[in-house]
Amino acid sequence: MFENFFVNGRFKDEILLAFCGLLSLCAGFINGFIGTGGGVIILLTLKKLHKDDEKAAYASVAAVVLPMAVISAAVYCISKPDIISDALPYLPFALIGGALGAYLLSRVKVRAVSLLFSSLAVFSGAAALLR
């Protein structure tokens, strides 16, 4: 996917590399600070790097965001250990939902789901701001 971005295993453009690293740092900070949202910034970063293969870009986003979420969750659990016991009842549902979503990815229209969830995100975000 990124073969044009590398030359002999090295990045072609150091400025772009530094910019993308900075964006990733910001994505990580937001992910750690509010517990979500890193994926959107990583997606914007990857879109800057390559525009040809959207599905591979989404696969890369997932591969970057997952370890970021693990690290953020680890820091949260160290500072507040009761989070682990509070989260336990939800984890099987998250696991089944995530696996089902990945299975359905090529079978359903993601556009409708995306519209619904972005609308809910605006509503929930506004509610959190106004509380």
């Binding site: 996917m1 990733s24 517990g35 591969a63 953020s72 549902f93």
Partner: protein, 121 residues
């Protein structure tokens, strides 16, 4: 009753996450608004649920699409440093500040995603 609804919200947001449509912040919103969970705890629960939901999807997608591991390693390294800074900052910050930041970001991402989906980009 709230536990049952919470599990349903978790399942639906995980499903959406697996589909690549996002939705991770909604569980945090439900937990803080309806289950009287503190903002930081809700964010931690949301992160653990995200890890559970995203692990199978990530493995499937990485096998299927074989993304460039050098780029992933670089972005992950930079992101990891930010994660530690952000999570430590959240544990020291005032809960209202974290909630307002969460609300502002969720609203902005919602508007951006809605616009991008409508425009078909």
């Amino acid at each position: 009753m709230n536990d049952v609804i919470g599990c349903a919200v978790c399942f639906i947001t995980a499903l959406s996450s697996g589909l690549g449509a996002g939705g991770g912040g909604l569980l945090t919103m439900f937990l803080t608004s309806f289950a009287n969970t503190a903002q930081i705890n809700a964010q931690g629960i949301n992160l653990l649920c995200f890890v559970s939901a995203q692990t199978p999807a990530s493995v499937i997608n990485m096998i299927r699409y074989k993304p460039d591991m050098r780029l992933i390693a670089f972005l992950t390294f930079c992101g990891a440093a930010g994660c530690v800074l952000g999570a430590v900052a959240a544990s020291y910050a005032d809960e209202t500040v974290v909630r307002k930041a969460f609300g502002a970001f969720l609203t902005a991402v919602g508007v951006y995603t809605f616009y991008r989906t409508v425009k078909g980009r």
